[in-house]
Symmetry: C2
Subunit: 296 residues, 2 copies
C-alpha cells in the first residue's frame, strides 16, 4: 500500500509524538519536527513509499537528532504488564466456548489488544475501566470475517509465520497462539523486530511475556515497521518462503506486506483494526472496522 | 496565547482538512499541504504567532491556491439546521429551572453546541443520537465555573459584546443571549466574522438562525480567526472599547484575545471547551474541560 496525502500530517504528528518521548530538550524536539517537514518537502515522490517506511524514517531521524535509541521503552514495558493483567478476562470467556467460537473470540482479542489504550498514564490507570473496555471490544464485530477460512488454512499448515505488531498486544497474540497450537499440528514462528521502532514488539518484549512458551521467536532482521525485505535477514526471508501460512498483525504489516505479497504464493491472513481511513478505504470498510482477511 | 510545537502538526492537518473541502483536484490539495509545510519551515519565529493566526494563514493560502472562498459553506448551513432541531431539548430543560440554574445550563449549552459533532455526514445522521449526546454533554461539569461572577458582571453592564465562534454553535449562543436579555437590562452586540474563515459564523449564518431577534449583529471587520485588532474595523474596536463586558466564545477567541486583553480594562468572560492540550495547559485544566472563566 502506497502513501497518500493523508500520510503527510500523520507523519508530522508522529514526529512530535516521538520527539516528546525521545527528549525533554525543546530545541531538539523542534528540530525533529522541522527536519521531518523538510524531508517530506524535499523528497520527490515520498508518497510512493509505504506509510510504514515514512514513520520508520522519522524514528531513525529521531535517533540521529536526539540520540535516543528506544523512546517507547517504558511504554512498551508498561503495556505488556497491563495486558498481562487483563488477558485473563478473555481466557475466562474462551474456556466456556466450543472451539470455533473460542477461536473467533481469541482472534478478535488480538485486535482488541491493539485497540484498547495501553498508553494510559499511571495516575489515571484503572483496571476496571480497562477490563470494561476490553469486554466492550470483545462484543464488537469483525467487519471482514475470514475466521472460517483461517481455520481451514491452519488445518492444512505445518509451519506458520506470525508477524507481530505492538507490545501489550502480543500478550493477546500469545493467547491466540496457544489456542492455535493446542488444536492444530503446527509450529508457530513469531517474528519480532530486531531493534526498537515505535512501540513494536522486540525480543525484550517477547521475553517479558514469555512468548517462547507457545512459539519459536524469530526476528525480521531489522528495525523497520512492518516487512521490509531489502533490510531483512536471509533467515527471515527463508522463514517467509517456507511457511504454509503467514499471519500479519496490524496496519504496519498490512501496509508493507501487501506491496510484496505476490512473492509469497500462499495464504496470508491480515488481522487488524483499520485505524486510519487510508487502510479502511483500501479494505473497503468503515474506519475502526475489525478485520480478519485471508489472501490466497 | 502564543503557538507551541504542538501547533505545527495541527496546522498541517488543518491544511489537509481545508484542502479536501476546497477542491477535488488532488494536485491542488497536495499543493496546499506542501505550501503550508514550506511556509512553516521558512518563516522564522512562526510560533510567536497565535494558533488562530496560523490557521487563518492556511485558509488564505487555500483561497490563493484553489480559488475556493468558502470551503465550509455547506457544512455551516447544515450545522445551523441541525442545531436548530436539537436546541429545543435544552430549552425544555431550562424552562423547568429557576433562573440561576437555567443560566448555568444555558451557558453550558453554548459549550455543548460547540462540542457535539455537527460534522455528521448526512447518511449517518440520527436525531436520537444527537439529542442523547447533547443531554450527555449537558450533564457534564464546568471545570472552571465563574457563572456566578458572570451573572454579577451582567447585572452591572449595559453593553455586552459577544464574540461568536462557529456555525451551529450560534443557535445555542442565541438561546443564551435570550436568557441574558430577558433577565438583565443589557444590549448585546453579537460579533460575526466579516468573511468566511473555516466554519466560523458569518453574517449569512446569523441571518439563517435569526440572531437579530436577540442581539445587534456586528462584524469584526475581517475574516481572521478570533480577534485581530490590526485587521479589525474601527467600528468593531470602538464596540470593544465601549463595552462593559466582553463574552468570548471558543478557542480561537481565547487564543487571540488573551494577547490583547490588557487593552480592554473590563471583565472578559471566556467560554469554551479546551479541545487542545495547549489551551488546556494554559488554563491549568485537563483536556476537554468545559470553562466559564472571567478575567476582570
Amino acid at each position: 500500500m502506497k502513501g497518500e496525502l493523508l500520510c503527510i500530517p500523520c507523519t508530522v504528528r508522529t514526529a512530535l509524538d516521538i520527539a516528546v518521548k525521545a527528549t525533554e530538550d525543546k530545541e531538539l524536539q523542534s528540530k525533529l519536527v522541522y527536519e521531518t517537514m523538510k524531508w517530506l518537502v524535499e523528497t520527490p515522490d515520498v508518497l510512493n513509499e509505504t506509510p510504514a517506511m515514512l514513520h520508520t524514517h522519522v524514528q531513525r531521524l529521531a535517533e540521529k537528532i536526539t540520540g535516543a535509541t528506544d523512546p517507547f521503552k517504558d511504554l512498551k514495558k508498561a503495556s505488556n504488564e497491563i495486558a498481562l493483567r487483563v488477558v485473563p478476562v478473555l481466557e475466562k470467556k474462551c474456556v466456556q466456548l466450543k472451539f470455533a467460537d473460542a477461536f473467533r473470540l481469541a482472534v478478535l482479542g488480538t485486535i482488541c489488544g491493539n485497540a484498547i489504550d495501553f498508553e494510559v498514564e499511571e495516575h489515571r490507570f484503572s483496571m476496571d475501566e480497562l477490563e470494561s473496555s476490553l469486554l466492550l471490544c470483545l462484543n464488537g464485530d469483525l467487519v471482514i470475517d475470514d475466521t472460517v477460512k483461517l481455520n481451514e488454512a491452519l488445518s492444512k499448515s505445518k509451519k506458520v509465520v506470525y508477524l507481530l505488531d505492538n507490545a501489550g498486544e502480543i500478550v493477546f497474540d500469545k493467547f491466540f497462539m496457544r489456542i492455535i497450537t493446542s488444536h492444530f499440528s503446527v509450529n508457530v514462528y513469531a517474528a519480532v523486530k530486531n531493534g526498537p521502532i515505535l512501540n513494536d514488539t522486540t525480543m525484550e518484549d517477547a521475553e517479558q511475556v514469555r512468548l517462547e512458551e507457545v512459539a519459536e521467536v524469530i526476528t525480521t532482521g531489522n528495525d523497520h515497521i512492518g516487512v521490509n525485505l531489502d533490510e531483512s535477514s536471509e533467515d527471515f526471508r527463508e522463514h517467509l518462503r517456507t511457511a504454509d501460512l503467514i499471519i500479519a498483525k496490524g496496519q504496519g504489516n498490512y501496509e508493507s506486506l501487501t506491496e510484496v505479497e505476490h512473492l509469497f504464493p500462499k495464504p496470508i491472513a491480515y488481522i487488524l483494526k483499520a485505524k486510519c481511513s487510508l487502510v479502511a478505504d483500501k479494505l473497503g470498510i468503515p474506519r475502526n472496522g475489525n478485520v480478519v482477511k485471508i489472501i490466497s
